[in-house]
Amino acid sequence: MQQRIMVLVLILLLGVFSPRAIEARRVHGFDCSLCHQTVSSSPVPYMTYNLCLSCHAPGNANTYELTDGGDSNPVTGTFASGDASDAMGSYPDGVTPGDQTSHFWAGSDDIWAGSDDIVAAAGAGSPADFLYNFGWSEGKITCSRCHDPHAAQSNPSLLRMGAGSTDAMCLDCHQDWNQTGNHGHGSHPLYADYPTLAAANPEKFRATPNNFGSNGGISLVDGVKVSCSSCHGVHFADSDASTVDGPTQTLSVGDGKLLKYDGPSRENPDHAPAGGADADSQDRRSRYCEPHLYQLSTAGQPGRHL
């Protein structure tokens, strides 16, 4: 018994005197009071009165003094109010969307009815992961719902579920699509192992998705998976193959569908197959379909898999 008590005391002492982990340097290494201040006592539309956008504003490439006296990195990702997607009709009445190159970031029951974090049309429900669901942003769609402003520089995108968690974060909210191998929510299926699928069905799929060489082609998540971010970006995606997507790039006016390549509604002469294609076939056939061996429609006949 005495021996057991000694072991227990030893363990407790080790816990108390063990070296502390060195706290990682934060991306936003500012004084707390820079952001944690009262701006307005009443609820305001987050798309407009957005603390993050005070710095992440178009035209702004500023640096700021950190608490340790150093300089922050220059602001690169900037957002205007109209960058938020209106693909789900989330905007307030009478407001014309802008470039719509980013995920909507101002969903809250308090401000605009029906624009909270549950959007059935987007297959989106409240996320399951606890990392999403604490603090002020719970139940809302805001920057800080997905981004942790206090994250370390090892997680430069400040993702709530950690660096490289983009796809997992998509699926945690957009749960209806989180179904492997079938057309979840009536859309394109996700698939866990595309190379194996393609090898088993060479008449239908290319062995390697055709990335067209540039400007945001299809990418397999983790090298094998067909998932959300194979085709979509979360920010700085304009559904236009003619532009390079990204925070420092010059983007086109998007359609809010946040596709890396051309969306179905974007007319692009590059999509015209040899011999010409009618508008109908162009409309139905985004070049995202290139992984499929696909026969274009001919006069009066719909296209089909070969």
Partner: protein
């Protein structure tokens, strides 16, 4: 002079009191009245930086479009600057608008305000800044640029050469904690640098420097601008000594009466987008605020307003004049026409002049100035003689001295001062002296009329038997350039074997005729069939048989020209006589005559039946024997076509036996599909001179097999279903068709006996050559299948109905008015057996005792019912009486004939008739 101490004290107190109660100079700057004047949206996506020149032009840097836009003082988009890719970090414009300074990442570009071309860069150009941000100018043209990454201010002289930096005096590095905005108060000669960084060592504030960079004062964001101002945005100043400071986080304007008295907090109404920059327009007292949501807010300050564009005095142009005469497309008969137009109206009441232009095609001919016009119309006389037969176009426009109406619509006219006849046609065919039949065409070239508005109205074809055309055989007007000989109105006047000469002339609508063409000749030599009958007014048909007379061609004697070579059947009918049927063979260019010897119509009274044999053996078909005697090969002998329940169509060729009577040879099967319950009817359905085949079927349909062979050697098509009202004709039960001109309108109608007992009429709503069958009409209904056959049983000139039923053969006489008498059962003795459906056919098989009946029954047997007793038909006597009245017999012969008729002395009458007929034949002539 020194004041005593007491007075000095009093003066001091007064001065202090005055100092306290007398308002400072700041207090004279009233709180601005801010009023929304609207928004600018055009072309903007994300406007982030603004500046205004002295004239009130607004310059906007758009961070998404990477361009600068200039809006004039009235708010209209006036210019786009795209020579460089701007970042939107900063923008400034010289007061006169001649130069723009635009942040482009690590450089500040200098652009020409008028042309937009790139003039150069500040300092060393690219790389001059870590990141160029806010830019502003002082009153002498020095340029102040915030480097927002190095967080210092760089100052450049008006030539763009770096002059000196302005740094943070409170920092060892000289860096500001942040630079959220920068602006120069040109009136006060001070530089404002906004720092929103909040930390333990720093609080958000506005640092105010003199233009050399000496810090003058610090305005705390926590209390100098009213409530806390968390994040600075753009800054601007008005001419009244007030500064406008934006709070980007809440889209607010904080106004300070300079140097540091807070006077107003103006908030956005709570809309979309953030306010990020401001620029004051002193010329119109307006404050522009950039909303990065995509537009510019415009605020009037202390009554400032948007200027209205100057109103330019306008002149209303005259309305369009309208050409009147010559009207469009008209023909003028003068070489110098007068051009008349409808005057224009002018809203300003200006006096108008007119310009008239005359062209030939697109080539100008003349142009006239008309200054004096009437009240309603003006005109001008063409001063030169225009070319004959040419088309001209003209139009007119009005002018009020300042503006013109534009040219009116264009009218055209032709000049035709001298009417001319059409050109002379040239003959094309037939070749001179060619041999022609009726189907050959005369053709000639089309000609035109030299008068532009005239045209050839018709051609006149003239034929003469003499080259001199001393006497014309015929003349005919034709609208086309050819005519078929047979279509000439007086075609019958052409004589077979005669040489004719022909010529053509063209006539215009005014009856001006061209000269006649050259003359050509042809020899007319065609096949002519002439049919005579020994009774006057006998009706002649072609392509018929005993069941259907065929195509009516006239009353005997009749001449039919241009028949196709080959076999042709001729049917002659006359009341009181049996039908006469003959076969003729026509050859090219040969004429044939048929003399129809009509025999007295005899009415059978009783019948004697015997089985029909072929090749010496009694015919027995599988069932439902349906006989149709017809001269199938046009050899002059009746053949027997039979349908039956098996679907086979069997043909028994007619031969003459030793007694020179009709007999039938061995069976031959027609090459046709099996049609179960076939009931044939032979008729030239499309009047092409070849026998076709209708076949009623057991399924109620009637099928048509058109003959693609010849009349004598038929070859049938694959067949089709007869249509009625858009669908196949189909009756209940087996169909037995019979063709008859039921309504006497000259075309063939169809009557179908049905297995269900109905007798249906399908009236022909088309033509005789292309029948279109209307909806069925029920003529009668009986119990059990009925099979019709139409024949003039009593030879009165009307087709009577024989109806085969399961109860025997019924006879319905047809009256002259088209109605039928009640049914009368034919007395056929023990035949046929009861309860058998019957197909029947009536004809005078042996030419001796009137009509015989050929009957098929459901067992498949075929019988001939020959007349055992007979008598002359009443119609015969009637015909004789009629002829006796107008006969050419001698008075004695006529008297004897009438007496014999009265006493029904048939043999005597017959002898007299033969004499009469001989005389008729001798005297008949063609009509």
């Amino acid at each position: 002079m020194l004041w005593p101490v007491k007075e000095r004290f009093v003066l001091t107190v007064i001065a202090l009191i005055l100092a306290v109660i007398w308002p400072s100079s700041e207090a004279y700057c009233a709180v601005p009245v801010v009023e929304s004047l609207g928004q600018l949206h055009e072309e903007l996506s994300v406007p982030v930086r603004l500046d205004v020149d002295e004239a009130g032009n607004l310059y906007v840097a758009d961070a998404r479009r990477k361009a600068i836009y200039r809006f004039d003082r009235y708010g209209a988009l006036a210019q786009s600057y795209t020579a460089v890719t701007v970042s939107g970090g900063g923008l400034a414009v010289s007061p006169d608008g001649s130069r723009l300074y635009a942040a482009c990442g690590d450089a500040v570009a200098i652009l020409a305000g008028d042309s937009g071309e790139l003039l150069g860069y500040l300092g060393s150009g690219q790389g001059e800044f870590a990141s160029a941000g806010y830019i502003d100018l002082d009153s002498v043209g020095y340029i102040f640029v915030a480097d927002t990454q190095d967080r210092i201010v760089k100052v450049y002289d008006p030539q763009g050469v770096f002059a000196y930096p302005i740094t943070n005096p409170q920092s060892a590095t000289g860096k500001f904690p942040s630079i959220f905005a920068l602006a120069v108060d040109t009136a006060g000669g001070e530089l404002y640098v906004a720092d929103s960084m909040r930390s333990s060592g720093s609080a958000p504030k506005m640092e105010v420097f003199d233009l050399s960079g000496q810090l003058q004062r610090t305005l705390s964001a926590d209390n100098a601008f009213g409530p806390v101002l968390p994040f600075f945005g753009g800054i601007s100043f008005d001419e009244s000594g007030r500064g406008y400071f934006l709070d980007t986080s809440c889209s607010e304007i904080r106004v300070l009466t300079l140097p540091q008295t807070f006077s107003l907090r103006h908030q956005d109404s709570g809309g979309f987008g953030r306010w990020v920059d401001a620029a004051y327009d002193g010329s119109n007292k307006r404050l522009f605020v950039a909303n990065e949501g995509g537009w510019i807010e415009i605020f009037g300050i202390d009554g400032g307003s948007n200027p209205s564009p100057p109103v330019v005095a306008s002149n209303s142009p005259p309305s369009l004049p309208h050409p009147l005469s010559p009207s469009d497309g008209a023909e003028v008969t003068a070489g110098q026409p007068e051009l008349t137009f409808q005057n224009s109206a002018d809203a300003d009441g200006d006096s108008l002049s007119y310009q008239v232009r005359l062209l030939q095609g697109t080539e100008p001919v003349a142009e006239y100035e008309v200054s004096s016009v009437g009240e309603e119309t003006g005109s001008v006389l063409v001063d030169g003689v225009l070319e004959e037969n040419r088309q001209y176009v003209w139009s007119v426009q009005a002018s009020d001295g300042t503006d013109t109406s534009g040219w009116s619509e264009t009218f055209s006219f032709y000049v035709n001062a001298e009417p001319e006849a059409p050109g002379v046609p040239a003959l094309l065919a037939p070749a001179d002296s060619a041999l022609c039949v009726g189907q050959d065409s005369l053709s000639w070239t089309a000609v035109s009329d030299p008068d532009p508005a005239d045209s050839v109205h018709h051609y006149v074809v003239e034929l003469s038997a003499e080259r001199s055309f001393a006497a014309l055989v015929l003349t005919q007007e034709c609208t086309g350039t050819s005519v078929v000989l047979a279509d000439l109105n007086d075609y019958p006047l052409l004589e077979d074997g005669q040489t004719y000469y022909w010529r053509v002339r063209a006539v215009d609508q005014y009856e001006l005729s061209s000269a006649s063409s050259d003359i050509a000749s042809f020899r007319y030599d065609t096949a002519i069939l002439t049919v005579f009958a020994d009774m006057p007014a006998a009706r002649v048909y072609l392509g018929g048989n005993y069941a259907y007379s065929g195509r009516f061609v006239g009353e005997a004697p009749v001449e039919i020209r241009d028949l196709a070579p080959g076999a042709c059947s001729v049917v002659v009918e006359s009341p009181g006589f049996e039908p006469y049927l003959a076969q003729v063979q026509l050859a090219v260019g040969e004429s044939v005559q048929v003399h129809a010897k009509l025999t007295t119509a005899l009415v059978p009274l009783t019948f004697r039946a015997h089985a029909l044999k072929a090749d010496g053996a009694t015919i027995l078909l599988p069932g439902d024997a349906a006989p149709f005697p017809v001269d199938f090969d046009n050899d002059g002998l009746i053949d027997l076509l039979c349908g039956d329940s098996s679907g086979v169509l069997t043909l028994y060729h007619g031969v003459r036996n030793k007694k020179k009577q009709i007999a039938f040879d061995a069976a031959a099967v027609l090459e046709l599909p099996l049609i179960y319950g076939a009931s044939p009817f032979v008729v030239d359905w499309d009047n092409d001179g070849r026998k076709d085949l209708l076949i009623g079927a057991g399924d109620g349909t009637v099928r048509l097999y058109l003959n693609e062979g010849t009349e004598a050697v038929p070859h049938f098509t694959e067949g089709s279903y007869l249509q009625s009202q858009g669908g196949p004709l189909a009756v209940d039960g087996a169909a037995a068709p019979a063709v008859v001109d039921f309504d006497g309108d000259g075309d063939k109608d169809l009557v179908v006996g049905c297995g269900c007992g109905a007798l249906l009429l399908y009236d022909n709503s088309g033509s005789d050559a292309a029948p279109q069958l209307a909806a069925a009409r029920v003529l009668l209904t009986r119990d059990g299948p009925v099979v019709p056959f139409f024949t003039d049983w009593n030879s009165d000139g009307n087709k009577d109905l024989l109806l085969g039923t399961t109860a025997g053969i019924d006879l319905y006489h047809r009256r002259a008015d088209g109605s039928f008498t009640a049914a009368k059962k034919l007395s056929t003795g023990q035949f046929p057996a009861a309860n058998q459906s019957l197909h029947l056919f009536a004809l005078d098989l042996n030419g001796q005792r009137g009509k015989d009946l050929i009957v098929g029954n459901s067992v498949g047997e075929l019988f001939v019912l020959s007349a055992r007793k007979f008598k002359p038909a009443a119609s015969f006597w009637s015909a004789m009486r009629k002829q006796a009245k107008k006969s050419q017999l001698t008075r004695k012969q006529e008297k004897r004939l009438k007496k014999a008729i009265r006493k029904r002395k048939y043999r005597r009458v017959l002898a007299l008739v033969k004499a009469f007929q001989r005389k008729t034949r001798q005297s008949s002539s063609l009509r």
